[in-house]
Structures are given as structure tokens and as C-alpha cells.
Amino acid sequence: MTQDREPGFDTLAVHAGAAPDPATGARATPIYQTAAYVFDNVDHAAALFNLETFGNIYTRIMNPTEAVLEERVAALEGGTAGLAVASGHAAQYVTFHTLMSPGDEFIAARQLYGGSINQFNQSFKKSDWRVVWADADDPSSFEAAVTDKTKAIFIESLANPGGVVTDIEAIGKIAKSAGVPLIVDNTLATPYLCRPIEHGADIIIHSLTKFLGGHGTSLGGILIDCGTFDWLASGRFPTLSEPCESYHGIRMAETFGDFGFAIAARVLALRDLGPCISPFNAFLLLTGIETLSLRMRRHCDNALAVAQWLEGHDKIAWVNYAGLEGSRYRELAKKYCPKGAGAVFTFGLKGGFDAGVKLVESVQIFSHLANIGDTKSLIIHPASTTHRQLTDEQRAAAGAGDDVVRLSIGIEDKDDIIGDLEQAFAQL
């Protein structure tokens, strides 16, 4: 028998998860703006509540517009299932709520988005989940941090604020030998540039707000179950492998097999914690994903051109972009992101703090704001904004020293992006 053809990435980006609406024939995915769904009868309701049949109950737990988004991203990542939630932070909280018990530990790379560092250090402490920090540049530091309480390893593929490429495969092997899942935040790379599942990821997380949605309009996050971790054989994750009290004693990993993690996160963590995404946001994010490849190619082309231009400028001390030949991450970038090193990176101004402030106030196309992954080019000077409450030492350790500027390069004409920086530099 000849095999049916496998669709390519760009076809999945447009089609996966979607079909014409069965009631109306609408070809675009409808926004199912409803809180709840009518049952046929009591037996149907019971089967839904018992998870015996598939279907919608209440939009805190599931929604047909959001389901298209979940399948779309799962297909692009090559995973078994997805769960979309209110934000990337919510995706992380729901993920760890499913994995962790009080007193448990997980190991995370120090090179993470600052918001994740706060969430792990501060908020997770209230649930008695302890983060142990390791160095993404030194995989052996993860191995050294493993204890019998370790329940997961967490890394970013391309780390924010940029320039850092993590050796996913090396850290994945450490997770495997420790018997814990590897969680990869793939927000900056998107599945267009990097597919963590091919390098050992068990769970993938995204802030959909960034390049996947791509237009800076809508908050959203998602977790992807790669279907690669055997929760029953492990026995160390009771939410997955022990009888579940709120569903009459089913075991999530037994009943739902290789998509059991995504289901457990949905019907337990999301059900009880409540950070659901809105159907309208899901719709806008889905529309953005249809053009993911086109945008990412342009983002990466523009980012490389800007980084190369910056490298030669006399007011610039250094540029940290993994797409540059001189980057210490160049080899890792070739392995994990061969199509481009993303569009978020940092550079250093010879003029320090004052030059940073002057630059963000002098640009005319770049927007001065705290976000990344928009069609528009974005700029921020962390020392005077996101990291201003820290001491000088803390700022330096976080890669947010006085001289650091972070860019998220958009899809405008690259001559205009470079021209805007040129006129702003002339004012320093």
C-alpha cells in the first residue's frame, strides 16, 4: 500500500486543526463566543463529565475555537496534543501544577526570560516548589543539580533577551537519565526555526503572544504534550499515574495514553486554577500562525542585517546575536536553528546608561515597549525600565547592565529599520 503523503510545515500552519464549520460551511474558524454547551440529555452530560466521551462542557476547560489553535500548534511542533491558556506564564503554572507536589524541585536554566525567573523564584515558592538554577552554557551543571526530589528540567531553546542558544540535546540526555521530563520554552524560536521534540523535549511551552501570534494583539500561552514521557513506568508523578479522585479513580496516563499529560493539565490544573484563554484571542492568534513561515523568514533576514550593521558601528561595544559568525553560539545555532537565529537580541552602547535612555527616546520607527515578537520593531533599555529595581550587580548578572539595549526586529523594510537606528545614534 502506498502511504498517504505527509503535509509540510506551511500547509499545517494554514490547515491543521481547522475544517469548514459543520453547521454553516464557514471556511474561517468561527469564534465560538460561548461560556457553555448544551447537553443532549443526562446520559450525554454524565459521559462528558466522566471524560468517557469527547466534547465541550464549559469554556474554562475547552472551546472549539481554542481547540483549533491547540491542534495547530501541536501539529507544528509534532506533539500529540496541546492546551491553550491565558498567557505563557499561565502555561508554565499549569504545567508545573500537573508535575509537582509540595517539596519537589525542578532545575531551570539561569538564562531565561526575567518574568519566568520571577515566577519560579517568588510565586512557585508559595506552593513549596523549589527552583534550582543551572547554567545553560554548561549542561553538566544540570547533572550536578539533580536530586531525588527533581521533577523536571526547564530551558528556553533561544533564550530571552536573546543571543543564547541552548544545547537542548545535551540537557535532554541529562533529563532522560534523571527520569524527569525536559520542558522547553520555544517562544523565541517558534517551531519554524526549532523543533525541540526532535532533540529530546517532552513538554513544549509557548507564549503565543510573541512570534506565533506575531502581531502584538493578543495574550495567550500553550503547552504541548510531546507524548514521549512514560508517566506510568516512572510512577513519580502522582497526578498522571495515581487514581484521580475527581474522576472516579481513573489514571490519566492510562486512560489517555500518549496525550495524558495535556488532558491532565486541562481537566485538573486548568479546571481548578482557571487561567483560560478567550476564544477571540485564540482566533487572532490562529490567524497570525497562518503566516508564521513568511514572517519568521523576514524577521530573521532583517535581524541578521541589523546585527551585521550594528557590529560595524563605532558607538557599539558589542552585539550578541547567534546569527553572527563571531557569536559563541554560532555552532549551536547552526544545529538547532539552521533557518535563522531569531529576531530578538541585545547589543551594548559605548555610552552606557545615558546613551541607552537617549537612544530609546530618539528612535522614530522602533516602539519603546516591553514586548517582543511583533510585526513592528521594538526596543527597550532594560536598566531604565524592566530591571530598574535591581542593584547594579543584579542587573549585570541578569544580562541587563547599564549599556544593554534589547531589540525585537520587525518585518518593516530593513533599510528603514537600520536608517532609524542610524539617525538615533547620530543624536547620542
Binding site: E6, H15, A18, P22, F54, V68, I263
Partner: protein, 183 residues
């Protein structure tokens, strides 16, 4: 990854590493009587979930479990073995381990079943070859509930990757939130 369905010749051997959607859809559309070997009366077991769902989808499911023979399960009489069933059985669904699949396959051939279906985690290539030689179709390491949910699109409501691409209206069954798998 999903599948773009093409016209598929069926006169060549089936690969049991990856099935075409058209092959699975054909089996689930053409055969409506399933003998479920290893069906459990325990309502938290996967076999119970699968039996209940398939009955909701219009399949007649006959439970087979020697430990519970003669009792009722979801209003169906439990049989001790396949050879005790007097009715026509089209699909034999095996909720037992891979080793046990050989003897059950031999019984499936003996009673004239058309399909031997082994559940997720169950694979016996020797039994599969025997069944195919006798003219039966074989599916291994799959669940008919998940396949029905996947091909109908119902399972996508739970965020599951159906690995399908669809430019046709899904076919609705009666009531709310019930879909058919289409032709």
C-alpha cells in the same frame, strides 16, 4: 504530521508501522460488530471507556472475559471466549497482551471475523501474518475509540492532534457534539 489522503491501491501488503487514514476509516465504516476480548466491568478501565464510546457510535460491542462470563456489561452479556459467541463477529478487538494475541487471533480466524484489531501497546506480527494469510485485515497498536475520535474530529475538542487535514464539512450525527467519520 497529518495525512493528505490520496487514492490508495489496496492490493499491496499493509505496513503495520503506519496506517493510512483511508484503511482505518474503511474498517470502521464497513464493520459494525465488535467482540472486545478483555473488556473490563471496572468503569475506570480503558476497555470500559472504549466499549461505552463505541456503543454510542452505533457499534454492537460483545464483551469477552472468561472471569466475568454470563454477567452483564453495559447491558451486553459477557462471553467466555470468542468461540462461544453465536452471532456474527466482524472485528475482534484485543485488550490483552501481545503474547495472548496469537491464540485470540486463531479464534478470530476460526469464527470468520473480518478484522483483528490489537489495542495500543499490543503488537504480534506473527499473529498478524497468520490473520492476513487467512484474508483478515489487521490493525495493531491502535485504539478504535481514539481512531474514531481522530477521524471524526471529536477528539480535537480535547486539543489532540488528529494528524488530518480536512477541507470538507465534518459530518454531524444526531444531537449535539456527535460526528461521523465520513466516507
Amino acid at each position: 504530521m497529518g495525512q493528505i489522503v490520496t487514492n490508495t491501491p489496496t492490493d499491496q501488503p499493509i505496513s503495520h508501522d503506519r496506517y493510512n487514514d483511508s484503511y482505518i476509516r474503511g474498517i470502521l465504516n464497513d464493520h459494525k460488530t465488535i467482540a472486545m476480548v478483555g473488556a473490563s466491568p471496572n468503569p475506570v478501565r480503558p476497555s470500559y471507556f472504549a466499549m461505552k464510546y463505541l456503543m454510542d457510535k452505533g457499534f454492537q460491542v460483545i464483551p469477552v472475559n472468561p472471569g466475568h462470563a454470563g454477567k452483564d456489561l453495559l447491558s451486553q452479556t459477557i462471553y467466555s471466549s470468542l468461540t462461544d459467541i453465536k452471532k456474527t463477529v466482524e472485528i475482534v478487538d484485543i485488550f490483552r497482551n501481545s503474547e495472548a494475541a496469537m491464540a485470540i487471533t486463531q479464534d478470530a480466524i476460526a469464527i470468520g471475523a473480518k478484522v483483528v484489531w490489537m489495542q495500543i501497546g499490543v503488537r504480534n506480527d506473527e499473529a498478524a501474518a497468520l490473520a492476513e494469510k487467512a484474508g483478515l485485515k489487521v490493525v495493531m497498536n491502535r485504539c478504535p475509540k481514539i481512531e474514531y475520535g481522530r477521524l471524526s474530529g471529536e477528539i480535537a475538542w480535547a486539543g489532540v492532534n488528529t494528524r488530518t487535514i480536512n477541507n470538507k464539512r465534518p459530518t454531524l450525527a444526531g444531537g449535539f457534539q456527535h460526528r461521523l467519520i465520513g466516507a
